[in-house]
Symmetry: C2
Subunit: 397 residues, 2 copies
């Protein structure tokens, strides 16, 4: 898998952030593969890459299959790419067998699914469904303060053409995504493939806490306004709260302390919170409780707080018709039928706003993902691709 | 005060880390002032800068007065410099009045008192008392991974000459340091000057927590080994523990999370803890309790921990004879006599291993220090310099 070498560090970790040279190289590699599969290659204004095989009726809406090729920082080489490469393989197989259904079939590599660069993801699919705003391109910034719009320009895209990426919903019949599970459920069941029933909703929150920097030796504890001490209590509260809810998780993945001197009481702390649940009501409840707790603790500690929502996706159920079709494909492939939910977010969540969606999960070794140790066996990917092929031919027939 | 412009950012914060061009510029400025005061200027192998005025008996041990000119990151312009500049002023005054005692008087600007660059301080005074090791120069590194020895070379010093900075104790009669209080005690008493009775001991600890990075969505809470979640509990424990002890403080000033992705469970966290108390027994007790708590919490959470001591200074009492002399000087100056302890560390703590020490504190506005808002009124500095002058003439007589 040559794609797994692009953006790879010595320790085997993959870093392919959106609108960077590494991501461009990965997309060029994918475009090449698409051409080898005799697909008509196209890129939209947001950098989403498409490879299209016409159906007997070019007017019929297309079956879209795909995923993404961007990665988190120091991530694995299967997250996203498994879906893009197996999608191309499926179309290659159709081409080799001269199979043509009534519907066109397209494979897509979406731009910035991960959200690793701008702390807000699904940029490509949001643009495609027409729900990414110009304002969002300006307001979301990377660690160096560069906005999405600026990064697009640097990479040769015109952010003002964003609306051109919006796709007419009548041209799409369904969206199918094969993805590694990124969890341990299939492994614990001894199964290579699973049918996804739904995807958790997520909230990405950004918290800024401002207190007063001061001397670590001369400021008595009771006179402090230490934002990191406040943050530690907030983090412990988040962990406790999500532990008390079913199918719910909460993570602080980023935290920055300023000025960051060993003998200086911090003056400012910024941190992110990623909260997920299969239940929208639970998400609302946890977010509400957290907001209240932060307000109380900041008042008590005389620390100023600002809580911003960076990304909000509601839980999604996969479309029953597509789930049925995938179930049949699993049975035809001779695999055991098994259903599971996704704890990770996927472009399918966004595509669900436009069309019917379905997902096929492939077993992850030790459930590890967003980590260089991410691994999926070739045979499992083969099973997944077989199920994808059968689902595609059933839908595009 | 021209010195307050060196290393100053737009917001008025001072950053003069050791062995940087800013620190070099500050020392050159100070050397100039020393020459204007007709002092014999000398720099030792560690970069400690001396200005000496001979006494009638050049063989007699010298009265050393001084402080430091390095700063923390984004600190204030009085911390350290107040002692160096008032020391030079005192010697200037002696020169103008043709006053000469039996003892030589020297003003010193010590190298790296703050510890802001290498997370371990008092480098200059430690070298002078002969207790800084070659090994310490190699093992302590700055944020870019540069060791003290490497930084010295870059600044034109030879770290292998370290031992030449060791001073013969028989050449020193006493060490006197004027410093801003950096706390609110004098202000709350309405006093410009106080006599320091003792200095808190401090422990600077560095904690590394290693868990397992993973996907923030697909890893159930009970399967996580999240080092930041562990760190938040440790930070809350430190705060609770020190709040329960008299005259004791604890601060986490630095914290770094890796890999630092919004949807990645952290794999590694590093943080520093600064713990201080006037009681050595309390310091031992808090450190012991903290070590036990960290061990327990890391075992419970299957997180690997490593706790290193970066800097350890035991509490110091000022020498009764010097305290007496300062008390008399305060009275002669017509000021109210007031005693207080220092919550900040000072070179006087290290100098106490070699000679008698005393300190004079000058009022800090709002008690703020290690912050651009640090401020001390000119009149208060004048009172402090008067007390210093009278103490010096009494000791060097
Ligand atoms: N599948 C995946 O890792 N998506 C990135 C968004 C998320 O954090 O779930
Ligand atoms: N006085 C002062 O700020 N010293 C630096 C060492 C410390 O943190 O106390």
């Amino acid at each position: 898998m040559h794609l797994g070498k692009i953006g790879r560090n010595e320790a085997g970790g993959i870093t392919r952030l959106s609108f960077t040279p590494e991501e461009k190289e990965a997309k060029a590699f994918v475009a090449d593969l698409m051409e080898q599969a005799s697909l008509a290659v196209d890129e939209d204004a947001m950098g989403n890459l498409f490879g299209r095989r016409e159906g007997r009726n070019p007017q019929a809406p297309a079956v879209l299959i795909g995923s993404h090729v961007d990665s988190v920082v120091n991530g694995g080489m299967f997250d996203g790419t498994a879906g893009v490469l197996s999608g191309i393989e499926v179309l290659h197989t159709l081409q080799e067998h001269g199979w043509q259904g009534s519907h066109p079939v397209e494979v897509v590599a979406f731009t910035d699914e991960e959200g690793a660069r701008f702390s807000t993801g699904m940029l490509g699919s949001q643009a495609l469904v027409g729900q990414l705003t110009q304002e969002a391109l300006d307001s979301h910034k990377d660690a160096d303060g560069m906005s999405v719009a600026e990064a697009m320009k640097e990479a040769g895209y015109d952010p003002l053409k964003l609306r051109e990426a919006k796709r007419d919903p009548s041209t799409v019949k369904a969206y199918l995504e094969l993805h590694i599970e990124q969890g341990k459920v299939l492994e614990s069941q001894g199964l290579s493939v699973g049918v996804v029933t739904g995807i958790v909703g997520l909230r990405w929150l950004h918290l800024t806490l401002k207190g007063e920097a001061g001397h670590a030796g001369t400021t008595p504890m009771k006179l402090r306004r230490d934002p990191l001490a406040a943050a530690s209590v907030v983090m412990a509260y988040l962990e406790d709260t999500v532990k008390g809810e079913a199918d719910t998780v909460g993570t602080v993945g980023q935290l920055r302390v300023r000025p960051g001197g060993i003998n200086i009481i911090p003056g400012e702390v910024e941190l992110t919170m990623d909260i997920r649940s299969l239940s929208r009501a639970t998400l609302d409840k946890v977010e509400q409780a957290l907001r209240q707790f932060i307000d109380d603790i900041c008042q008590e500690r005389k620390v100023h707080c600002a809580l911003d929502v960076l990304h909000r996706l509601e839980p999604v159920s996969c479309s029953p018709g597509i789930v049925d079709t995938i179930e049949n494909a699993v049975k035809e492939t001779g695999l055991d039928l098994f259903h599971l939910a996704s704890g990770a977010g996927h472009d399918a969540m966004v595509m669900a706003r436009m069309t019917d969606v379905g997902m096929i999960f492939v077993r992850s070794k030790d459930g590890v993902s967003h980590n260089p140790k991410e691994w999926t066996e070739k045979d499992d990917l083969g099973d997944g691709a077989d199920v994808l092929l059968k689902t595609v031919t059933a839908l595009a027939r």
